[in-house]
Amino acid sequence: MRIGLDSGFFIKLYQGNEHVVALWEKMMEKDEELVACVLSGYEFFRVLLRRGEPMKELEEFWQTMEAACELIPVDGKSVREAARLESTYHLGGLDSLILAVLLESGCREIFTTDSKWKPISRRKKVKIRILP
């Protein structure tokens, strides 16, 4: 099963959140197909640089992540889907783009820290897991 990871997942993983680290270990064990949007990289660096994390360590983590899961770019189809999601669910622009890329890439399960994503699962055939 294709599993989508939102920016919050990577931030919490980097910070060593126990729940997320345990999830990561489980995903490794099952050798799950993990995907993320390239834009999550922007959020990852933006949030953690603002919190004073050293760029060198962030780069090492993210470069490794690029090999650990598939990073999907934004395309024309996902841009249109993002606009639709934004107007339907009142999400932020960046969140809509990331979510649209994950949905368009066929994810059936998405891990996020954004509780605003929860209502998506009612209309789309996707499980939205909100991280604590």
């Binding site: 993983l13 980097y14 990561w24 983590f61 490794t64 090999a67």
Partner: protein, 93 residues
């Protein structure tokens, strides 16, 4: 596609499986071997990267524990030392 030639020796059993796969998919033997090798190398790279992520996270946790222990030491023991030194300095003056 431009590439480099490589001579490899396969067990008869592997070779016959390879031929069957090539016939079934309509691909050349080279293409079947190349695809299989590429998949294998990608899988290996992904698994190693995932393991490395875990190592990075664990080593950061160790660093954080050390930093917190040092801060706690600064707050308690070093604080006591400072108080003692201040008292000592007062007595001397």
């Amino acid at each position: 596609m431009k590439g480099r030639a490589l001579t490899i020796y396969l067990d008869r059993e592997v070779f016959s499986l390879l031929e069957r796969k090539a016939r079934g998919t309509g691909k050349s033997l080279s293409k079947v071997v190349q695809d299989a090798l590429l998949d294998h190398l990608k899988d290996e790279r992904r698994r190693l990267a995932r393991q490395k992520i875990l190592e990075i996270v664990r080593s950061r946790k160790k660093d954080r524990t050390l930093i917190e222990a040092w801060k706690e030491y600064e707050r308690t023991e070093r604080g006591k030392e400072r108080e003692f030194r201040e008292l000592f300095d007062e007595d001397r003056s």
